[in-house]
Amino acid sequence: MIVQALAFYLFAAVVVGAGVMVISARNPVHSVLFLIVAFFNAAGLFVLMGAEFLAMILIVVYVGAVAVLFLFVVMMLDINFVELRQGFLQYLPIGGLIGLILLIELLTVLGAWAVAPEAGVVVGTPMPPPDLTTNTQALGEVLYTKYIYLFQAAGLILLVAMIGAIVLSLRRREGVRRQNIGAQISRPREAAIEVRKVPSRSGI
């Protein structure tokens, strides 16, 4: 139990620390790297809660895809982040004020928060006991049966995203030399090599 508590505080402290570093690091590349650290530790927190599938998805999707994409964008766009930060102190009071107001509003809302007493009864898919199945199995059992409609709809959305990316960005430019392996290897010897008799002292 004590190990679990220690691990929780370790992960939580690193998440918060890395989160602060994300917004305070001078170099944007360092920011993205700190973001990755934060993702890894958040995944650790998920594992502690027994949500191992979510933890792995977090690493695969967020670290593997999203953060790497960020890194690409940061490196490819030549944005001067130091200049962007110049107004920071100037805007700090008004920004802080808005943040404070939002915080107070959120606290008022959450303070009066109550879950409907009827809610527990109606939960659509009751969670199977965790010691009987793994997360992955439990998700798989409902994903392709109960939620097949939503699963297929999400697939269609991804298909539309793919069509959109191709429609908007694929260009067939004229005059670009492409490698055509079929044409290369089916070329007869006569078309490629020519044997010539070179007379002495005259060249071709």
Partner: protein, 484 residues
């Protein structure tokens, strides 16, 4: 159990499969297959209209309650399909003349239509969101389909960024509602709220905040004030037949969804959402009436006009009664026909093969093309709500419903703003009939355009002679919504 589910969702499944088949066909045949793909897409939509209107299908829910098929959904789906099919037919010549033939755009329109059908049939917050996102994502892409045109890409990008923001708000609202009730199903939500109300505790704060966010997200999709700012820019920038599509089918789907969500799961909270809908409605009517006065571009003018029309339609929802929603459904049906006709006329505004979009270009149209001027005149009178044209009856029913529910201020503001709105509609009629002729538009306008313009203007003109089918259809549809 599974086969029954498939029968209930047959139109959607058929549309999805055919759209993917057409995608493969287009991918292998290249852009030269565009006319064929377009024709087959229109045939698909017409077949679907037949299937929904005539086919004997099981009513009820499918896929474990995620999807619902009822008379209300069928009525709205037919409207959406009519809008999509007509917009597709109108786009045929445009893309050929502009020299940007791409086989993907009819397919993206099919997927957008599929998303709209899924929205109308949504019976769960998750299926609501997925349908909405399928529709929006396709629309973002077709807004930017002329990727070499600065205006088109700007329209697409603007639409995408603001649309993503509104989707975020909608999701946040949905997650708050889920967090409070532990369910996303509309039926279970209605049960939970009914039990809460019966137990005597009022509407919980978390759900109200969730409801506000949900409404904000949906108000964006129907371009109601104060979430309207994308509309004029996107309507102006997108290619004109695409704008005609934007102005009709997605509006119907989003309004249908809004009505289903508000009267279904949140039926208990009429007092809470009514004030929001009233505000949105008044603001849309006023902005639609006043902002359009200064427009010189007809596409921007129509954008503000559509904002105003959404305001009038929401008057019916604000009433919160069955009569109100029936008025809204009738209003939207007439709105689709009027808008398809008007956009058809705008698509015919072409001089020396170049589209013109200024209102002044319509000067003296009655001399150069009297039939088109007559058609556009009918649409403008109808939009202004002059009896005996169809647009008058649309407004009449929503205002009557508002008065019956005691919302006198709303009805009075509605009538006043429609008087202001009449100014800019009638100005177009004045330009066409009383000003010195400008250069004539290209002729002929094409056989399909002639058919569409004749058909829509006859429908608008003669609605008062045979109002029966629409009235009884809408009444049956709305009673199905309120019964379920």
């Amino acid at each position: 159990m599974i086969p029954l589910d498939l029968v209930t969702a047959l139109p959607e499944l058929l549309l999805a499969c055919l759209a993917m088949a057409l995608l493969m066909f287009g991918a292998f045949r290249g852009d030269k297959a565009t006319p064929t793909v377009l024709l087959l897409s229109v045939v698909t939509l017409v077949v679907l209209i037949g299937l929904i209107a005539l086919g004997p299908r099981g009513e009820g829910t499918a896929f474990g309650g995620l999807f619902v098929s009822d008379g209300y959904g069928d009525f709205m789906k037919v409207l959406v399909l009519v809008g999509s099919a007509t917009a597709m037919v109108m786009s045929l010549r445009y893309f050929e003349q502009e020299g940007v033939v791409r086989f993907e755009y009819p397919i993206l329109m099919l997927f957008a239509t599929l998303g709209m059908l899924m929205m109308i049939s949504a019976n769960d917050l998750i299926s609501l969101y997925l349908g909405l996102e399928l529709q929006s994502l396709s629309l973002y892409v077709i807004a930017a389909i002329r990727r070499d045109s600065l205006r088109s890409t700007e329209a697409g990008l603007k639409y995408f960024v603001l649309g993503a923001l509104s989707s975020g708000m909608l999701l946040y609202g949905a997650s708050l509602i889920y967090g409070f009730t532990g369910t996303t199903s509309f039926e279970t939500l209605a049960d939970v709220f009914a039990e809460s109300a019966a137990a005597g505790h009022g509407p919980p704060l978390g759900v109200i905040i969730g409801l506000v966010f949900l409404l904000a997200g949906l108000a964006f999709k129907i371009s109601a004030v104060p979430f309207h700012m994308w509309t004029p820019d996107v309507y102006e920038g997108a290619p004109t037949p695409i704008t005609a599509f934007f102005a009709t089918a997605p509006k119907i789907a989003a309004i249908a969804l809004l009505c289903r969500v508000m009267t279904g799961p949140f039926g208990e909270f009429v007092a809470q959402w009514q004030q929001i809908v009233i505000f949105i409605s008044i603001a849309s009517m006023i902005l639609g009436a006043f902002a359009a006065i200064y427009q010189t571009n007809i596409k921007r003018l129509m954008a503000y006009s559509s904002i105003g029309h959404v305001g009038y339609a929401l008057v019916g929802l604000a009433a919160g009664t069955e009569e109100g929603v029936r008025g809204l459904v009738i209003y939207m049906a007439i709105y689709v026909i009027m808008n398809l006709g008007t956009w058809g006329c705008i698509l015919c505004m072409r001089r020396k093969q170049i589209m013109v979009e200024d209102i002044d270009d319509l000067k003296g149209l009655s001399k150069s093309n009297p039939m088109m001027a007559l058609a556009l005149g009918i649409f403008m009178f109808s939009m202004a709500g002059i009896p005996p044209l169809a647009g008058f009856f649309g407004k009449l029913y929503v205002f009557l419903a508002a008065i019956e529910s005691g919302l006198y201020t709303l009805a009075v503001i509605g009538v006043l703003s429609s008087v202001v709105g009449a100014f800019y509609y009638l100005r177009i009629v004045k330009l066409m009939y009383f000003d010195e002729p400008a250069e004539a538009f290209d002729r002929p306008i094409g056989r399909e355009m002639t058919v569409i313009l004749t058909g829509t203007s006859l429908l608008i003109l003669l609605f008062f002679v045979v109002p029966g089918p629409l009235m009884s259809g809408a009444a049956a549809a709305v009673s199905a919504l309120f019964a379920g």
